[in-house]
Symmetry: C2
Subunit: 247 residues, 2 copies
Amino acid sequence: MTGRLAILGLGPGSPDLQTPQVSRALEEATDLVGYETYLARIAERPGQRRHTSDNRAEFFRATYALELAAEGCRVAVVSSGDPGVFAMASAVFEALEAGPPAWRSLAIEVMPGVSAMFAAAAHAGAPLGHDFCAINLSDNLKPQAVIERRIRLAAEADFAIACYNPRSKARPDGLTAAFAIVREVCADDRPVLFARAVSTPEEHLRIVPLPEARAEMADMRTVVIIGSSQTRVIAGTRFLYTPRSAA
Amino acid sequence: MTGRLAILGLGPGSPDLQTPQVSRALEEATDLVGYETYLARIAERPGQRRHTSDNRAEFFRATYALELAAEGCRVAVVSSGDPGVFAMASAVFEALEAGPPAWRSLAIEVMPGVSAMFAAAAHAGAPLGHDFCAINLSDNLKPQAVIERRIRLAAEADFAIACYNPRSKARPDGLTAAFAIVREVCADDRPVLFARAVSTPEEHLRIVPLPEARAEMADMRTVVIIGSSQTRVIAGTRFLYTPRSAA
Protein backbone atom coordinates (compact mmCIF):
# COMPACT_ATOMS: atom_id res chain seq x y z
CA MET A 1 0.00 0.00 0.00
CA THR A 2 1.33 3.44 -0.87
CA GLY A 3 -1.41 5.51 0.72
CA ARG A 4 -0.78 7.82 3.64
CA LEU A 5 -2.94 9.08 6.46
CA ALA A 6 -2.24 12.35 8.29
CA ILE A 7 -4.39 13.06 11.33
CA LEU A 8 -3.94 16.77 11.81
CA GLY A 9 -5.10 19.73 13.85
CA LEU A 10 -5.82 23.13 12.32
CA GLY A 11 -5.41 24.93 15.62
CA PRO A 12 -8.24 26.80 17.33
CA GLY A 13 -9.32 29.06 14.47
CA SER A 14 -6.83 31.60 13.17
CA PRO A 15 -4.57 30.50 10.27
CA ASP A 16 -1.87 32.32 12.23
CA LEU A 17 -1.96 29.45 14.74
CA GLN A 18 -1.70 26.64 12.19
CA THR A 19 1.70 24.94 11.97
CA PRO A 20 3.73 24.83 8.74
CA GLN A 21 3.69 21.02 8.99
CA VAL A 22 -0.10 20.99 8.83
CA SER A 23 -0.24 23.55 6.01
CA ARG A 24 2.05 21.37 3.91
CA ALA A 25 0.09 18.20 4.64
CA LEU A 26 -3.10 19.95 3.53
CA GLU A 27 -1.43 20.95 0.26
CA GLU A 28 -0.21 17.42 -0.43
CA ALA A 29 -3.41 15.56 0.40
CA THR A 30 -5.55 14.06 -2.34
CA ASP A 31 -8.47 13.66 0.08
CA LEU A 32 -9.67 15.67 3.05
CA VAL A 33 -11.92 13.97 5.59
CA GLY A 34 -13.63 15.83 8.40
CA TYR A 35 -16.51 17.60 10.00
CA GLU A 36 -17.81 20.13 7.48
CA THR A 37 -17.31 23.14 9.78
CA TYR A 38 -13.59 22.37 9.98
CA LEU A 39 -13.16 21.64 6.26
CA ALA A 40 -14.81 25.00 5.53
CA ARG A 41 -11.72 26.65 7.08
CA ILE A 42 -9.44 25.15 4.40
CA ALA A 43 -8.92 26.76 0.97
CA GLU A 44 -10.24 24.68 -1.94
CA ARG A 45 -7.60 23.14 -4.18
CA PRO A 46 -8.24 21.83 -7.72
CA GLY A 47 -8.39 18.06 -7.81
CA GLN A 48 -8.48 17.64 -4.04
CA ARG A 49 -11.54 15.70 -2.86
CA ARG A 50 -13.51 16.56 0.26
CA HIS A 51 -15.48 14.08 2.34
CA THR A 52 -17.57 15.90 4.91
CA SER A 53 -19.79 14.46 7.57
CA ASP A 54 -21.76 15.28 10.64
CA ASN A 55 -19.68 15.87 13.77
CA ARG A 56 -21.13 12.84 15.56
CA ALA A 57 -20.09 10.30 12.94
CA GLU A 58 -16.49 10.13 14.11
CA PHE A 59 -15.98 6.38 13.93
CA PHE A 60 -17.57 6.17 10.48
CA ARG A 61 -15.41 9.04 9.27
CA ALA A 62 -12.26 7.43 10.70
CA THR A 63 -13.02 4.09 9.03
CA TYR A 64 -13.67 5.77 5.70
CA ALA A 65 -10.35 7.67 5.94
CA LEU A 66 -8.48 4.39 6.54
CA GLU A 67 -10.22 2.80 3.58
CA LEU A 68 -9.16 5.67 1.32
CA ALA A 69 -5.55 5.42 2.54
CA ALA A 70 -5.60 1.65 1.96
CA GLU A 71 -6.66 2.35 -1.63
CA GLY A 72 -3.56 4.49 -2.09
CA CYS A 73 -4.89 7.98 -1.40
CA ARG A 74 -3.00 10.62 0.55
CA VAL A 75 -5.61 11.38 3.18
CA ALA A 76 -5.76 14.20 5.71
CA VAL A 77 -8.17 13.70 8.60
CA VAL A 78 -8.95 17.18 9.86
CA SER A 79 -9.67 18.25 13.44
CA SER A 80 -9.86 21.65 15.03
CA GLY A 81 -7.31 22.42 17.76
CA ASP A 82 -5.04 19.44 18.47
CA PRO A 83 -6.17 16.14 16.89
CA GLY A 84 -5.20 14.17 20.01
CA VAL A 85 -7.40 16.12 22.44
CA PHE A 86 -11.04 14.98 22.31
CA ALA A 87 -10.77 14.86 18.54
CA MET A 88 -10.17 12.53 15.61
CA ALA A 89 -6.90 10.77 16.52
CA SER A 90 -8.49 8.38 19.02
CA ALA A 91 -11.36 7.65 16.64
CA VAL A 92 -8.89 6.72 13.89
CA PHE A 93 -6.98 4.39 16.21
CA GLU A 94 -10.23 2.77 17.34
CA ALA A 95 -11.11 2.15 13.69
CA LEU A 96 -7.58 0.91 12.98
CA GLU A 97 -7.84 -1.59 15.83
CA ALA A 98 -11.26 -2.80 14.65
CA GLY A 99 -10.33 -3.01 10.97
CA PRO A 100 -8.43 -5.47 8.76
CA PRO A 101 -4.88 -6.32 9.93
CA ALA A 102 -3.41 -4.91 6.68
CA TRP A 103 -4.33 -1.40 7.82
CA ARG A 104 -1.72 -1.66 10.58
CA SER A 105 1.07 -1.26 8.05
CA LEU A 106 -0.34 1.97 6.60
CA ALA A 107 1.81 5.10 6.91
CA ILE A 108 -0.04 7.00 9.63
CA GLU A 109 1.14 10.25 11.17
CA VAL A 110 -0.51 12.39 13.85
CA MET A 111 0.36 16.09 13.48
CA PRO A 112 -0.15 18.12 16.64
CA GLY A 113 -1.75 21.54 16.71
CA VAL A 114 -2.37 24.43 19.08
CA SER A 115 -5.17 23.14 21.29
CA ALA A 116 -8.29 25.15 22.10
CA MET A 117 -7.51 24.94 25.82
CA PHE A 118 -4.01 26.38 25.50
CA ALA A 119 -5.15 29.11 23.10
CA ALA A 120 -7.95 30.02 25.51
CA ALA A 121 -5.50 30.08 28.41
CA ALA A 122 -3.03 32.22 26.45
CA HIS A 123 -5.57 34.82 25.42
CA ALA A 124 -6.74 35.19 29.02
CA GLY A 125 -3.32 35.01 30.72
CA ALA A 126 -1.97 31.75 32.14
CA PRO A 127 -4.67 29.88 34.11
CA LEU A 128 -3.05 26.53 33.22
CA GLY A 129 0.40 27.60 34.43
CA HIS A 130 0.45 25.00 37.18
CA ASP A 131 -0.93 21.43 37.43
CA PHE A 132 -4.19 21.02 35.52
CA CYS A 133 -6.55 18.51 33.95
CA ALA A 134 -8.87 18.34 30.96
CA ILE A 135 -12.27 16.67 31.13
CA ASN A 136 -14.77 16.13 28.33
CA LEU A 137 -18.19 16.90 29.81
CA SER A 138 -20.06 15.11 27.02
CA ASP A 139 -21.92 12.05 28.24
CA ASN A 140 -22.20 10.58 24.72
CA LEU A 141 -19.46 8.07 25.47
CA LYS A 142 -19.24 7.87 29.26
CA PRO A 143 -21.72 7.83 32.13
CA GLN A 144 -22.49 11.11 33.89
CA ALA A 145 -21.45 9.43 37.18
CA VAL A 146 -17.90 8.93 35.87
CA ILE A 147 -17.72 12.58 34.84
CA GLU A 148 -18.89 13.77 38.24
CA ARG A 149 -16.53 11.51 40.16
CA ARG A 150 -13.62 12.74 38.04
CA ILE A 151 -14.49 16.40 38.64
CA ARG A 152 -14.70 15.79 42.38
CA LEU A 153 -11.28 14.13 42.49
CA ALA A 154 -9.82 16.88 40.26
CA ALA A 155 -11.12 19.53 42.65
CA GLU A 156 -9.72 17.62 45.64
CA ALA A 157 -6.36 17.46 43.85
CA ASP A 158 -6.60 21.24 43.32
CA PHE A 159 -6.08 21.07 39.58
CA ALA A 160 -7.19 23.87 37.33
CA ILE A 161 -9.88 22.13 35.27
CA ALA A 162 -10.38 22.64 31.54
CA CYS A 163 -13.87 21.53 30.49
CA TYR A 164 -14.38 20.50 26.84
CA ASN A 165 -17.83 20.21 25.25
CA PRO A 166 -19.29 21.94 28.29
CA ARG A 167 -22.84 22.23 27.04
CA SER A 168 -25.20 21.27 24.26
CA LYS A 169 -28.93 21.44 23.67
CA ALA A 170 -29.21 17.75 24.40
CA ARG A 171 -27.22 18.14 27.60
CA PRO A 172 -27.91 21.48 29.26
CA ASP A 173 -27.15 20.51 32.87
CA GLY A 174 -23.71 18.85 32.97
CA LEU A 175 -21.83 22.09 33.45
CA THR A 176 -24.18 23.17 36.23
CA ALA A 177 -23.39 19.89 38.00
CA ALA A 178 -19.66 20.44 37.49
CA PHE A 179 -19.77 23.91 39.05
CA ALA A 180 -21.80 22.58 41.98
CA ILE A 181 -19.27 19.82 42.68
CA VAL A 182 -16.29 22.17 42.63
CA ARG A 183 -18.14 24.63 44.91
CA GLU A 184 -18.95 21.80 47.31
CA VAL A 185 -15.30 20.72 47.50
CA CYS A 186 -13.83 24.23 47.62
CA ALA A 187 -16.25 26.90 48.76
CA ASP A 188 -14.14 29.77 47.49
CA ASP A 189 -14.41 32.38 44.77
CA ARG A 190 -11.72 31.16 42.40
CA PRO A 191 -12.12 32.58 38.89
CA VAL A 192 -13.77 30.72 36.02
CA LEU A 193 -12.89 31.54 32.39
CA PHE A 194 -15.44 31.15 29.60
CA ALA A 195 -13.50 31.30 26.34
CA ARG A 196 -15.66 31.18 23.21
CA ALA A 197 -14.42 30.80 19.62
CA VAL A 198 -10.85 31.66 20.56
CA SER A 199 -8.71 33.23 17.82
CA THR A 200 -11.71 33.72 15.51
CA PRO A 201 -13.52 37.03 14.81
CA GLU A 202 -16.19 35.85 17.27
CA GLU A 203 -13.75 35.39 20.16
CA HIS A 204 -15.33 36.29 23.47
CA LEU A 205 -13.67 35.89 26.87
CA ARG A 206 -15.41 36.30 30.19
CA ILE A 207 -14.07 35.76 33.71
CA VAL A 208 -16.41 35.41 36.70
CA PRO A 209 -15.94 34.19 40.27
CA LEU A 210 -17.04 30.58 40.75
CA PRO A 211 -20.16 31.47 42.77
CA GLU A 212 -21.39 33.54 39.79
CA ALA A 213 -20.54 30.98 37.08
CA ARG A 214 -23.61 29.78 35.19
CA ALA A 215 -23.93 27.08 32.54
CA GLU A 216 -25.73 29.59 30.29
CA MET A 217 -22.42 31.41 29.87
CA ALA A 218 -21.14 28.50 27.73
CA ASP A 219 -22.11 26.80 24.50
CA MET A 220 -20.46 24.10 22.35
CA ARG A 221 -17.89 26.60 21.02
CA THR A 222 -16.75 27.46 24.55
CA VAL A 223 -13.87 26.06 26.58
CA VAL A 224 -14.45 26.58 30.29
CA ILE A 225 -11.44 26.73 32.62
CA ILE A 226 -12.19 26.51 36.34
CA GLY A 227 -9.19 27.89 38.24
CA SER A 228 -7.37 26.08 41.02
CA SER A 229 -7.36 27.52 44.56
CA GLN A 230 -4.34 29.62 43.51
CA THR A 231 -5.68 31.04 40.24
CA ARG A 232 -6.31 34.77 40.43
CA VAL A 233 -7.13 37.85 38.41
CA ILE A 234 -4.53 40.62 38.32
CA ALA A 235 -6.36 43.80 39.28
CA GLY A 236 -6.24 46.51 36.64
CA THR A 237 -5.61 44.00 33.83
CA ARG A 238 -7.62 41.57 31.71
CA PHE A 239 -5.47 38.64 32.88
CA LEU A 240 -5.90 35.70 35.19
CA TYR A 241 -3.09 33.27 35.98
CA THR A 242 -2.05 30.40 38.21
CA PRO A 243 1.34 30.87 39.91
CA ARG A 244 4.06 28.26 39.54
CA SER A 245 4.05 27.34 43.22
CA ALA A 246 1.43 25.39 45.15
CA ALA A 247 -0.46 26.88 48.11
CA MET B 1 4.59 53.51 27.32
CA THR B 2 4.89 52.16 23.78
CA GLY B 3 6.71 48.96 24.57
CA ARG B 4 5.23 45.54 23.96
CA LEU B 5 5.73 42.17 25.55
CA ALA B 6 5.02 38.91 23.72
CA ILE B 7 5.26 35.74 25.80
CA LEU B 8 5.61 33.05 23.19
CA GLY B 9 6.20 29.34 22.69
CA LEU B 10 8.49 27.95 19.99
CA GLY B 11 6.83 24.55 20.04
CA PRO B 12 8.63 21.38 21.06
CA GLY B 13 11.64 21.58 18.76
CA SER B 14 11.05 21.47 15.02
CA PRO B 15 10.53 24.81 13.23
CA ASP B 16 7.80 22.94 11.37
CA LEU B 17 5.76 23.06 14.59
CA GLN B 18 6.21 26.80 15.23
CA THR B 19 3.18 28.98 14.47
CA PRO B 20 3.30 31.84 11.94
CA GLN B 21 2.20 34.19 14.73
CA VAL B 22 5.30 33.33 16.75
CA SER B 23 7.62 33.56 13.75
CA ARG B 24 6.39 37.09 13.05
CA ALA B 25 6.71 38.16 16.69
CA LEU B 26 10.31 36.93 16.70
CA GLU B 27 11.04 39.00 13.58
CA GLU B 28 9.51 42.14 15.06
CA ALA B 29 11.11 41.96 18.50
CA THR B 30 13.91 44.33 19.47
CA ASP B 31 14.80 42.13 22.44
CA LEU B 32 14.65 38.40 23.06
CA VAL B 33 14.61 37.16 26.66
CA GLY B 34 14.93 33.51 27.57
CA TYR B 35 16.82 30.47 28.65
CA GLU B 36 19.90 30.20 26.44
CA THR B 37 19.03 26.73 25.11
CA TYR B 38 15.75 28.07 23.71
CA LEU B 39 17.26 31.28 22.27
CA ALA B 40 19.83 29.10 20.48
CA ARG B 41 16.97 27.73 18.36
CA ILE B 42 16.23 31.21 16.92
CA ALA B 43 18.12 32.66 13.93
CA GLU B 44 20.22 35.73 14.78
CA ARG B 45 18.94 39.03 13.38
CA PRO B 46 21.05 42.20 13.01
CA GLY B 47 20.22 44.75 15.70
CA GLN B 48 18.13 42.35 17.77
CA ARG B 49 19.40 42.02 21.32
CA ARG B 50 19.47 38.75 23.26
CA HIS B 51 19.25 38.40 27.01
CA THR B 52 19.99 34.87 28.06
CA SER B 53 19.90 33.39 31.52
CA ASP B 54 20.04 30.19 33.45
CA ASN B 55 16.81 28.17 33.32
CA ARG B 56 16.18 28.53 37.06
CA ALA B 57 16.13 32.33 37.07
CA GLU B 58 12.58 32.57 35.76
CA PHE B 59 11.29 35.32 38.03
CA PHE B 60 14.39 37.45 37.45
CA ARG B 61 14.09 36.96 33.70
CA ALA B 62 10.39 37.85 33.76
CA THR B 63 11.02 41.04 35.73
CA TYR B 64 13.79 42.08 33.38
CA ALA B 65 11.53 41.52 30.36
CA LEU B 66 8.85 43.76 31.90
CA GLU B 67 11.45 46.46 32.60
CA LEU B 68 12.58 46.39 28.98
CA ALA B 69 8.98 46.65 27.74
CA ALA B 70 8.35 49.55 30.13
CA GLU B 71 11.35 51.32 28.58
CA GLY B 72 9.68 51.04 25.16
CA CYS B 73 11.30 47.88 23.78
CA ARG B 74 9.41 45.24 21.79
CA VAL B 75 10.24 42.23 23.90
CA ALA B 76 9.71 38.54 23.17
CA VAL B 77 9.93 36.21 26.16
CA VAL B 78 10.77 32.81 24.74
CA SER B 79 9.67 29.40 26.03
CA SER B 80 9.83 25.99 24.49
CA GLY B 81 6.50 24.24 23.81
CA ASP B 82 3.54 26.31 24.98
CA PRO B 83 4.42 29.32 27.18
CA GLY B 84 1.44 28.72 29.47
CA VAL B 85 2.36 25.12 30.42
CA PHE B 86 5.02 25.01 33.16
CA ALA B 87 6.86 27.81 31.36
CA MET B 88 7.36 31.57 31.31
CA ALA B 89 3.81 32.96 31.16
CA SER B 90 3.07 32.37 34.84
CA ALA B 91 6.47 33.78 35.83
CA VAL B 92 5.77 36.98 33.88
CA PHE B 93 2.36 37.39 35.53
CA GLU B 94 3.90 36.84 38.96
CA ALA B 95 6.44 39.56 38.18
CA LEU B 96 3.71 41.83 36.81
CA GLU B 97 1.69 41.43 39.99
CA ALA B 98 4.74 42.15 42.17
CA GLY B 99 5.95 45.11 40.10
CA PRO B 100 5.03 48.80 39.77
CA PRO B 101 1.34 49.49 38.95
CA ALA B 102 2.31 51.20 35.68
CA TRP B 103 3.34 47.82 34.26
CA ARG B 104 -0.30 46.75 34.28
CA SER B 105 -1.03 48.98 31.30
CA LEU B 106 1.73 47.48 29.16
CA ALA B 107 0.67 45.75 25.94
CA ILE B 108 1.14 42.09 26.87
CA GLU B 109 0.20 39.16 24.67
CA VAL B 110 0.62 35.43 25.30
CA MET B 111 1.09 33.46 22.07
CA PRO B 112 0.30 29.76 22.38
CA GLY B 113 2.44 27.02 20.90
CA VAL B 114 2.38 23.28 20.31
CA SER B 115 3.06 21.85 23.76
CA ALA B 116 5.63 19.14 24.44
CA MET B 117 2.93 16.87 25.87
CA PHE B 118 0.68 17.06 22.80
CA ALA B 119 3.63 16.62 20.41
CA ALA B 120 4.77 13.60 22.42
CA ALA B 121 1.25 12.17 22.36
CA ALA B 122 0.91 12.77 18.61
CA HIS B 123 4.19 11.08 17.71
CA ALA B 124 3.23 8.02 19.76
CA GLY B 125 -0.46 7.86 18.78
CA ALA B 126 -3.16 9.38 20.99
CA PRO B 127 -2.59 8.53 24.67
CA LEU B 128 -4.25 11.81 25.71
CA GLY B 129 -7.38 11.18 23.63
CA HIS B 130 -9.62 10.98 26.68
CA ASP B 131 -9.58 12.82 30.03
CA PHE B 132 -6.06 13.58 31.24
CA CYS B 133 -4.00 15.72 33.58
CA ALA B 134 -0.56 17.31 33.59
CA ILE B 135 1.61 17.41 36.70
CA ASN B 136 4.99 19.07 37.15
CA LEU B 137 7.10 16.63 39.19
CA SER B 138 9.64 19.27 40.16
CA ASP B 139 9.65 19.98 43.89
CA ASN B 140 11.41 23.33 43.47
CA LEU B 141 8.16 25.21 44.05
CA LYS B 142 5.88 22.74 45.82
CA PRO B 143 6.26 20.12 48.53
CA GLN B 144 6.76 16.50 47.48
CA ALA B 145 3.70 15.59 49.58
CA VAL B 146 1.46 17.77 47.37
CA ILE B 147 2.85 16.11 44.25
CA GLU B 148 2.23 12.63 45.62
CA ARG B 149 -1.30 13.42 46.78
CA ARG B 150 -2.12 14.84 43.35
CA ILE B 151 -0.79 11.75 41.56
CA ARG B 152 -2.83 9.49 43.82
CA LEU B 153 -6.05 11.43 43.15
CA ALA B 154 -5.27 11.53 39.41
CA ALA B 155 -4.85 7.75 39.37
CA GLU B 156 -8.09 7.31 41.32
CA ALA B 157 -9.83 9.55 38.76
CA ASP B 158 -8.37 7.33 36.00
CA PHE B 159 -6.77 10.22 34.12
CA ALA B 160 -3.93 9.62 31.72
CA ILE B 161 -1.12 11.51 33.48
CA ALA B 162 1.47 13.65 31.68
CA CYS B 163 4.51 14.21 33.89
CA TYR B 164 6.63 17.30 33.20
CA ASN B 165 10.17 17.68 34.57
CA PRO B 166 10.12 14.03 35.57
CA ARG B 167 13.71 13.79 36.72
CA SER B 168 16.86 15.78 37.41
CA LYS B 169 20.20 15.10 39.06
CA ALA B 170 19.05 16.96 42.14
CA ARG B 171 15.82 14.98 42.23
CA PRO B 172 16.32 11.42 41.03
CA ASP B 173 13.48 9.76 42.97
CA GLY B 174 10.27 11.69 42.27
CA LEU B 175 9.36 9.68 39.21
CA THR B 176 9.98 6.40 41.03
CA ALA B 177 7.54 7.55 43.69
CA ALA B 178 4.99 8.53 41.03
CA PHE B 179 5.14 5.09 39.38
CA ALA B 180 4.81 3.40 42.78
CA ILE B 181 1.70 5.40 43.64
CA VAL B 182 -0.03 4.65 40.33
CA ARG B 183 0.84 0.95 40.68
CA GLU B 184 -0.56 0.95 44.21
CA VAL B 185 -3.87 2.47 43.05
CA CYS B 186 -4.18 0.45 39.84
CA ALA B 187 -2.19 -2.78 39.83
CA ASP B 188 -2.40 -3.23 36.08
CA ASP B 189 -0.01 -3.15 33.15
CA ARG B 190 -1.20 0.03 31.44
CA PRO B 191 1.42 1.45 29.06
CA VAL B 192 3.82 4.26 29.95
CA LEU B 193 5.32 6.48 27.24
CA PHE B 194 8.77 8.02 27.62
CA ALA B 195 9.06 10.71 24.94
CA ARG B 196 12.44 12.43 24.77
CA ALA B 197 13.32 15.51 22.71
CA VAL B 198 10.20 15.21 20.58
CA SER B 199 10.42 16.64 17.04
CA THR B 200 14.20 17.16 17.29
CA PRO B 201 16.87 14.98 15.64
CA GLU B 202 17.35 13.34 19.06
CA GLU B 203 13.72 12.24 19.38
CA HIS B 204 13.39 8.92 21.14
CA LEU B 205 10.12 7.24 22.06
CA ARG B 206 9.78 4.20 24.26
CA ILE B 207 6.64 2.45 25.53
CA VAL B 208 6.77 -0.01 28.42
CA PRO B 209 4.12 -1.59 30.65
CA LEU B 210 3.79 0.19 34.00
CA PRO B 211 5.41 -2.64 36.03
CA GLU B 212 8.56 -2.25 33.90
CA ALA B 213 8.69 1.56 33.97
CA ARG B 214 11.86 2.89 35.63
CA ALA B 215 12.84 6.44 36.46
CA GLU B 216 16.17 5.88 34.66
CA MET B 217 14.24 5.82 31.38
CA ALA B 218 13.64 9.60 31.73
CA ASP B 219 15.74 12.75 31.97
CA MET B 220 14.89 16.46 31.96
CA ARG B 221 14.21 16.41 28.19
CA THR B 222 11.60 13.66 28.59
CA VAL B 223 7.84 13.94 28.93
CA VAL B 224 6.40 10.84 30.59
CA ILE B 225 2.79 9.90 29.91
CA ILE B 226 1.28 7.25 32.18
CA GLY B 227 -1.76 5.78 30.45
CA SER B 228 -5.21 5.51 31.99
CA SER B 229 -6.79 2.09 32.59
CA GLN B 230 -8.08 2.23 28.99
CA THR B 231 -4.85 3.20 27.23
CA ARG B 232 -3.46 0.43 25.07
CA VAL B 233 -0.90 -0.40 22.45
CA ILE B 234 -2.18 -1.52 19.03
CA ALA B 235 -0.41 -4.79 18.26
CA GLY B 236 1.64 -4.70 15.09
CA THR B 237 2.01 -0.91 15.19
CA ARG B 238 4.13 1.66 17.01
CA PHE B 239 1.01 3.35 18.43
CA LEU B 240 -0.68 3.59 21.78
CA TYR B 241 -3.97 5.40 22.32
CA THR B 242 -6.78 6.01 24.75
CA PRO B 243 -10.28 5.40 23.35
CA ARG B 244 -12.91 8.12 23.52
CA SER B 245 -15.17 6.15 25.85
CA ALA B 246 -14.66 5.40 29.54
CA ALA B 247 -14.37 1.87 30.92
